[in-house]
């Protein structure tokens, strides 16, 4: 592989295998994600998609293979290192801080960007104050970007599900990540909410230059917004390529329809 193409890659998953006890979740999976693209991971339930996201952001350590992120091997890192390195994520079941306001939730996303120590913050020293203003300002920008300013002070638990998903997205991009991992960002949404969410993901990718890896079951959405689709079935990769080609792949059709 040439030096040029290596630096164009943000993420490379190389021969990753993961099992829980005797159950193999993921077997020898490799794929790579160039900077700036939207990559979709699809496959039937239990195909190993979420496990793979958990490997990428350091929740699970793979038994075999490695993950190269931004030129560094990260397969032995923990979620905090991943977050500091610029990987942010959302969860399949919304994992927000329910009693806290929308703004506070988004501010927690800024946590990795805090430079001032707690003593400076207690004393209200200039650097800590300037930083607090900046974080507040960036959080407001993100609320505006995702059209949730009106809910700024609402406790997240009181918002409808579709908006909660959006707040979770806001918290993830608040850290200004290079790589955004979205675990079923549109699960349980109606058509209109899905279209909104698709637009937001495209906006984030285009305006902020964030590389996105997402898991999604709605194939229509996947084909519309992604540059690149990786198909998993029973923990193995069965297809990898641009949406148009993957859609017509006989193995993919078989996995989805069950025909052979």
């Amino acid at each position: 592989m040439s030096a040029l193409s290596a630096s164009a890659l943000l993420l490379a998953v190389e021969h990753v295998s993961l099992s829980f006890g005797g159950v193999k979740a993921v077997t020898d999976i490799s794929f790579s994600v160039p900077r700036g693209e939207i990559c979709a991971l699809i496959g039937p339930n239990g195909a190993g998609k979420s496990s793979l996201l958990n490997v990428i952001n350091g929740v699970y350590r793979p038994q075999g293979g490695r993950v190269v992120y931004d030129g560094l091997v990260t397969s032995r890192s923990a979620p905090r290192q991943a977050a500091l390195g610029g990987i942010a994520r959302t969860f399949q079941n919304v994992a927000l801080f329910k009693g806290m306001s929308v703004l506070d939730n988004v501010l927690t996303g800024r946590n990795v960007r805090v430079g001032a120590g707690w003593i400076e913050q207690v004393l209200g020293l200039p650097r800590a104050r300037a930083e607090a203003d900046l974080h507040r300002h960036r959080a407001e920008e993100i609320l505006a970007f995702l059209h949730i300013q009106a809910h700024r002070d609402t406790p997240v638990g009181k918002l409808p599900y579709g908006l909660q998903k959006r707040v979770e997205l806001a918290r993830a991009i608040a850290s200004e990540p290079q790589l955004l991992l979205l675990d079923e960002p549109m699960a349980g949404m109606n058509l209109e909410e899905k279209m909104d969410m698709s637009c937001f993901i495209l906006d984030i990718n285009r305006d902020l230059g964030t590389t996105v890896v997402l898991i999604e079951h709605d194939l229509g959405v996947v084909m519309d917004i992604s540059d690149h689709v990786v198909v998993l079935d029973y923990g193995r990769k069965i297809a990898d390529g641009p949406p148009a080609r993957v859609r017509d792949d006989p193995q993919v059709i078989a996995a989805y329809i069950g025909a052979h």
């Binding site: 952001n57 929740v59 979620p79 905090r80 977050a83 500091l84 942010a88 994520r89 969860f91 994992a95 927000l96 801080f97 329910k98 009693g99 806290m100 506070d104 939730n105 501010l107 927690t108 996303g109 946590n111 990795v112 805090v114 707690w118 913050q121 207690v122 209200g124 800590a128 406790p155 638990g157 009181k158 918290r171 850290s175």
Partner: protein, 293 residues
């Protein structure tokens, strides 16, 4: 009127003492959703360690520093050894674990320092001073001053720094907090350390007030109504709850006691707490749980 004020202010000052214990609970509860029953025995352990060191010839500050070190080690051991392995278990499991820890600490304290009652002298004479015709206990005023300082320091720590926001996020969803890059384990360690420190302060004040003995760990039982009234997750609530309990029990004792019977002071706070449970289960400042059904 002067007599009423005297009783009221005396009650409020005594209430602050309850608040000191309650704050220790609130800290742990906020960070990990655990009702740490062992807070009471931490208070006892602190007072006993301090007083035993002083009796062995330590100067005040070196005894204070040594005890603080012991409290931090104890808090660290509980967090690391008991609660962390039990993370994500149901609240009742955690509560039972802290109950067990509570008895272990008491046993340990007895093993280490013996079971006799010690007097603890902080150098503040418990004699009344006259403020505009109202007699107030010098010691109570001192304790209230310490409590005010403590609360000020804690609120600065939790409102100004990211520790406060991190604390609430960790309490709400540890996994999500981890993914946003919050050092969950460090937050827990900080909170337990602070709870240990608060336990030490409460132990010194209560020890000086009641003498250092094993019944000191029973102050937990007085902290309970304070927490129910103020709310389990608010430091401000612990203060207000303490004031209400302190003033309420003294006024009840003085004005209703002669009618209903002596000792009203001892059970009146629980009546108050029961009323609050019926009317406002989350307490005055507690976070109401929001659940969509």
């Amino acid at each position: 009127m002067d007599f009423f004020l005297e009783v009221l202010i005396g009650g409020l000052l005594a209430g602050i003492m309850y608040s000191m214990v309650a704050i220790g609970f609130v800290l742990i509860y906020k960070a990990s959703g655990v009702f740490n029953f062992a807070q009471g025995s931490m208070v006892l352990f602190a007072a006993l360690t301090f007083v035993s060191l002083v009796e062995r010839g330590f100067a005040f500050w070196s005894a204070f520093a040594t005890t603080l070190g012991a409290m931090l080690a104890l808090a660290w051991a509980i967090e690391r050894g008991v609660l962390r392995p039990l993370v994500n278990r149901p609240p009742i499991t955690l509560f039972m674990a802290t109950l067990g820890v509570s008895f272990i600490i008491e046993g340990l304290a007895q093993l280490l320092w013996g079971a006799q009652v010690h007097g603890l002298e902080l150098g503040i004479k418990d004699e009344p001073i006259d403020l505009g015709g109202i007699l107030l206990s010098r010691f109570d005023l001192f304790a209230a001053g310490i409590a005010a300082l403590l609360v000020l320091a804690l609120s600065l720590l939790f409102s100004r720094t990211r520790i406060g926001l991190s604390l609430r996020s960790v309490a709400s969803d540890p996994l999500a907090a981890l993914a946003t890059g919050i050092r969950v384990q460090r937050i827990w360690a900080v909170v337990w350390a602070v709870a240990g420190f608060v336990g030490l302060i409460a132990g010194l004040l209560w020890g000086a007030r009641l003498g250092v003995q094993f019944s000191l760990s029973l102050v937990v039982l007085k902290a309970l109504p304070v927490l129910i009234i103020g709310g389990f997750s608010s430091i401000g609530g612990a203060i207000v709850g303490g004031l209400i309990v302190g003033a309420g029990e003294k006024l009840a004792e003085v004005y209703a006691g002669p009618v209903i019977g002596d000792g009203l002071e001892n059970w009146f706070p629980y009546v108050l707490a029961l009323l609050f449970l019926l009317v406002r289960p989350a307490g005055l400042f507690g976070q109401r749980t929001i659940e969509r059904v």
